[in-house]
Symmetry: C2
Subunit: 202 residues, 2 copies
């Protein structure tokens, strides 16, 4: 066993950076959706040839799933951080205003790739569609659990239905993606966030 630094590779070194290539792929999938994105779109945006793409990421489907993982783990992702706010109301608040800022951010495609990546799609995209469905359901489930915890902590009244509250919030967040897709500005989405919070139990 030889002492190995963090990078001792045999063979020709990769000529591109996998992370930045994955960012490029994410951007294309985000704008065009899974069905609407061709391998040519991807290789052109990533600046690599097809065999390099397949060697590095598997195939189109696996590349998409890796892009989604990147999307959710980005520094600008707002969902998970919002869950950690101290009160249920602040959770909702940060999530809604985070979505308003993020989904209408002009520096990236409008909306949310988890929502619009494969909403209606071909059979070829069925697995991808299901993966995205599960992500959305898991997000809502986490929100529900957070609200159940808030009830246990006395932060929300016991009369509140955590599942309904989570679904209401999830519905607005998902609707915001469509609004952003339609050209809504961050300010307009903030107004929606403000109205949404009016229905929140205090």
């Amino acid at each position: 066993m030889s002492a190995v630094g963090s990078s001792s590779h045999v063979g020709r070194p990769r000529a591109f950076d996998m992370d930045t290539a994955l960012e490029k792929a994410l951007e294309v999938f985000w704008r065009k959706g899974y069905d609407g994105t061709s391998l040519s779109d991807l290789t052109e945006a990533m600046g690599i040839n097809k065999p390099s793409l397949y060697a590095a990421f598997g195939n189109k489907e696996q590349l998409f799933l890796k892009a989604i993982e990147l999307y959710e783990s980005r520094p600008c992702a707002f969902f998970m951080p919002a869950l950690e706010k101290p009160t249920a109301y602040e959770v909702a608040e940060h999530m809604l205003y985070g979505a308003a800022a993020n989904m209408a951010n002009k520096d990236q495609p409008q909306g949310c790739v988890v929502i619009q990546g494969a909403l209606s799609c071909s059979e070829a995209a069925a697995a991808v569609k299901e993966a995205l469905m599960n992500r959305r359901l898991e997000g809502q489930q986490k929100l529900q659990e957070r609200f159940e915890r808030a009830k246990a902590e006395g932060d929300l009244p016991a009369s509140v239905n955590a599942e309904t509250l989570a679904r209401y919030l999830g519905t607005v967040l998902q609707g915001m993606a469509i609004q952003a897709n339609n050209g809504a500005t961050p300010e307009q989405l903030r107004q929606v966030a403000e109205m949404t919070l009016l229905a929140f139990p205090r």
Copy 2:
């Protein structure tokens, strides 16, 4: 000029019904989206061959647009009828509960084809995407105008921002389509509708 009854046609008669064929096409586009639907999907579902499709409907894009027209003029469409309710609150109420029933209706694809037909899509679908965007904006505009009328009629307080209210409602309605796509039941969507109305000015 000869007196013409409603049906005097020269040439070989069409062997299929255009309306039912268009219904079938709508169902496919609804489930698979514009990019995800192939001409083979369409001809198979419609029970006709490609030349018949092209002769009757133009091409894939025109067929899609005609299917959307059909969708919006269906008897089960809820949007336009809701606009005619006497009060702003009832407008919102009927729209939300109509959406809950319609979008999660198990007898048809889940969600709304105007929302999910071409959300993220290829360049080939750009015209279709824009047409759907405009439909969504027009719907929200009609809602806004209805709420402005309600303010003029004293049915809504003058302090209400009709545009924001319309956007809030539009956001929830669009979010409901995603929820339905995720398998939400009509009852679950009704609960969302109920919460949404809590934020409505009375």
